[in-house]
Amino acid sequence: MENRFKILITGVGGQGIVYLTNILVEAAMLSEIPVSVSEIHGLSQRGGVVTAGIGLGEHCTGFIGKADVDFLIGLEPLETQRCLPSLHKNSSVIFGDHHIQPYSVNAQMAEYPDVKSFAGYLAEQCREVVFIEQFPTGIDSVLHNIFLLGRASVMKAFPLTTEKLIEAIRSTVTGSYRDKTLDVFRQGVEFKLNKTPV
């Protein structure tokens, strides 16, 4: 890892952004990397946008500027697209095709963007892009975040190791949910894309 690294997690209220952030913070602490987080979740339970910026390294806050994000985890494609200005040429991105239509789309006042074309554009522009078009069957949608984290952990630029993340899950997630979470995380780690990454 370079001496400073910024991760941004984005999605819609209820997708488990804060939960994912907890695991990342714990993994950073276990790796003895200084960590700082800034969350914005105005009205998250009301289907609003939630983002969490995570700064790793000395003097690195979770505040996100333009072309500032080194690694973007998108739990919802439209929200991933909304983060475009914060990406740069050397960014890595992982996102899944789990649509949550905003009201404007339901009311036919706006169109949901073409996700595939966006994924293609990102792949041309960024360092490494993984687009999970279809989550493996059997994964509860509330664990899509963990699946993406697992797959992210084996991407080139990801600053935290798979092992530390597993350790973090063990210490963050309690009860019977822990094994299920670890299982989905491993499925993410082992997940091979059908075709070469876009």
Partner: protein, 1136 residues
Amino acid sequence: MLERTIKILTAHSSPHKTCVMGNEGIARAALEAGVNGVFSYPGTPSTEISEIFNFINGFQNSHSNKLKYPELTSDPVYFEYSINEKIALEKAIAFSIGNRSAMCVMKNVGMNVASDPLMSVTYQTIGAPLVIVVCDDPGCHSSSNEQDSRYWGRMASVPVFNPATPADAFEMIKQAFELSGKIKLPVIVRTTTRVSHTRGIVSYGNIVHGNRQPNFERLPEHINIPARTAAAHARLLHKLEDKQVLSLLAANTRLVLKGSKAKLGIISSGVATSYVIEILHRYGVTEKIKLLDIGMIHPFPEKEVLRFLKDDMEQYLVLEELDPLMENEVRTLAQKSNIQKNIFGKGYSGLVSTGEFSMDLLTAVLEKFLHASFNKDKNIPLENSEKYFQNLPPRPPVLCAGCPHRATFYLLKLAIPREQSELILCGDIGCFGLGALPPLKMIDTINHMGMSISMAQGLYEAFHSAGENKKTVALVGDGTFFHSGLSSLVNAVYTRANILVVIFDNRTIGMTGHQSHPGASSLPKYHEIDIPPLLKGLGIEMVETINPFDLKESIAKLDKAMAHDGVSVIISKEPCIFVHDFREKGVRKMQIAVDPERCNSCANHEDVALSCSRCYAPKNNLSRAKAKLLAEISIPGNEQLCPANICNHGFFNSILEGDYKSAVEIVRDKMLFARTCGDICHRPCELFSNESSVVPIKKLKHLVSAVDDNYRDFSVPVKRTQNARKKNKKIAVIGAGPAGLSAAYDLAQVGYEVEIFEKENKAGGMVAHAIPGFRMDKTAFDYEAMQLEKMGVKFHFNISLGKEIWLESLTEEYDAVILAVGMNKSKTLEVIEKNIPPEKRTDALLFLKSFNREEETIKPGSSILVIGGGNSAIDAARSAKKMSVKNQVLVSCIETLDKMPAFAEEVRHAMEEGIEFLHDSVVESCSLDTSGKIQCSLHAFDEKTFLQQVSCDYIVTAIGQVAEALVIEKLSSDENLRVISKNSHTGYKNVFVAGDINAGNHMSVIGAIASGKKAAVAARQLLEEYPYAYEGEKALGRLNTNSPLRNTNQKEFTNEEGELGDPYFVRSEIERYNLFQSCQKCNHCIDNFGCPAMVKVNGKVQIDMARCNLCGLCIDVCPNNAIHWVDAEEKTGMTS
């Protein structure tokens, strides 16, 4: 949460590093400082602090935890959610005076409510330490303003800490407790969203356990009277000069960057410091700056700042979010000390007093300040990202799926139609404020906590004091009602305001994450207060509790409450989906499904491009939805009954909404003759229905087209014609009767050039000439017919087929020919022709023509025999009677009453007018007697036995017409010269036949119209390969079957003078019916309900079961009855 609580409560003898949110750090620090009680009203971004103490309180008071964790529960911290911030601070002050240390937590605007106790207690004294945490929200992520709470320090003369990070906040809370105890003043710790909601590394230390015993000391300071206050003020100011204040000012004014080559100095506070440190490190320019962080903002650390200003820097920059509070202190200080250096602040490089700072803003500011351009090679922005970034659909917050507030708003929409009233709806703070946004849009004002009830009574009085009694509505959440709505309600009762208050009682404070309030708490430490008896105790007579998911009953109660003069209150009581009670009521084994056949589909026509004026506006569907709930009689409109295929459902529902103009347009989507059909249509739409009840469509048609403004305005079809893509094909229509005109109307609107040839000197055919004037408004018919000219159709009058024009040549000159010449030659009876002189006999057509020209052909007091049983016979008979009441009229027809081809209604009218009928009869013989009277011998039609001898003055034969032989030259025809055709096609490739000339029976007006439309479709099939069959085929086919007249017992919508009835009366009458049919243009649930679990995919609504909370209200909402419960298993089966 349990593990987190244990972690927060666990003491560490040496520092324990952890990464926590600022708010969590604050809670922990308070524990380490030995806080005994926390008082709060929830509010973002402060809520997590209170929630932690709420949880700790529950944890420490649990019996099992006391046994399991004796150390963690030995010194429990008191916690309460007070009803508002004023009470919270007052109680915290008292708690402190009772020698127990207290913390009071609130958001920025909460401090306004709490300011009253703050401003006075400072002149007095407290006991144990008291810390106030107030969380500001620059950028208003979740607040109604972005006020700067640092001012309170100056205003109340209390110390204010202003942390930059969670670690700062953690340390400063501890310092604040200590300081407060020392100087006996409340101390404020002010954070912002980016401190409260940021996580950073904090080192937990030791938690001090209770050695503080409750105690009340009788002190003169506890009594605040004017005589003591002047001295108290001086004492207060003196407290701020305490040694400990000064040492804390020094400790919290830190030189965090000490650039050795620095010529530039920055003074910053709060989160600005974090930004500056990060940016300068990132671009490796820390050496060029000295950075002074101000951790305590009041009193201002003048000594430290002065020293910094006197340092050998050339220029200074002051960085702080919101108001230039610190900047002004620095400038004052410089001015007082005569320091002549540049000091920059607000106004410098985009620094303003509004909103939050950002990385981008401060990077630009620092580049300017340093006269440098930072190296950003590692972060090159993406190319051409605008295309993918611009115009992304926004994602505003919405009420959750299953939210009872949505149910209440929907209910209000149904009960209080906004379009028709000027009713003002005053909203308040809370989740339900989202009801101001689309799709609900049921709020006109939102101010601050509890203002709704004051706003409603104030607005009421604004009108009332000027003589207008206008009921006004206040909408308030249950939490807000107790926070500050109650006192306002007392004022409303006291001042006799005429308002309706709707309390959205979702059993919790929803927006901030579901806290208890006096009206809803299951915790034994709280006593729940029931709202209705409280209100009744105030003397409010009308208090109703409703379940918003029961729409029908709730509408009735709302109506009652609206009608009440004085204060009325509706309590809409259903739990928030996050409250346990809600979860329990879910029908877990069931799911909800949408039937795609009924959602956004139209049974009327396959060609969705056909013009349809069914309005997209939500209000139209709102009345459908209301009718579904309230109407006594529900009539499915799926059956096609109108041969012209007018959308009866759209027509009816427009009237239900009071939109008569739309209703007229819906008729005109399909035909020219709205008023004519209102006069003379024989209403197959009503008579052929299989339903036990029918809606009086014809009368309604008459009603809406009788409004002259609606009827005269033909701009919609004219515009449609102008906008149609030109087909550049010419079509000739021969015959300007209703069939020909209708074909022309449809063809012109889809872009054909149409010319009409008519042998008479005006348009109308049989309608103009043969239907007597007393049955219809002839002027209106002429007006309607001639609108075709405005639509570009050319008329050629006095041109006859076979004289001036020939079919043969027309088929070559035009791309298609529509033959609609009608049947104008009356059939004759030989027995009459032979024996009766021409002046004493005529046929129905000639008779009616002369009647319509008001020629006097019959002397009053004559007796007339009409022969025939069709509509012409009845028209002739009635006309003869109309000429003079003294005329005696007898109709002889071969049919029995129930088999007569004439419309039964007309026969009934004739009978009522005194016309006699002799059924099953034929004229066997006739002759003139010596006095010039006609003597007819009538025999039974079947058995030929003698029936009756009739003596009369005139005979009118009305036994049908045939076409003129000439015009059907070369076309195959039957014995009556009817053109034999299949689907309007004749022997010619491009000649299509319409109207009587093609009918298997005598045509009604609506039949002729439909026949013309069908011929137009046939022409389109030929010329543009139009893929659809005629849309009204089914009903057109049914016209040929005779049906008995139904007794429909309809209401008259006109008053005794025949004028249009009162629209409210009409409305109340038709509101009894719900004529419904699925509609292609329905968007009702999305437009008016907007549940986030309802997703529109490919034009059909689907329920996203992952988001649905099974409230089931959408089932009632859907006006098309398309949504229903299904077995969870059944649905899985369907989708797999």
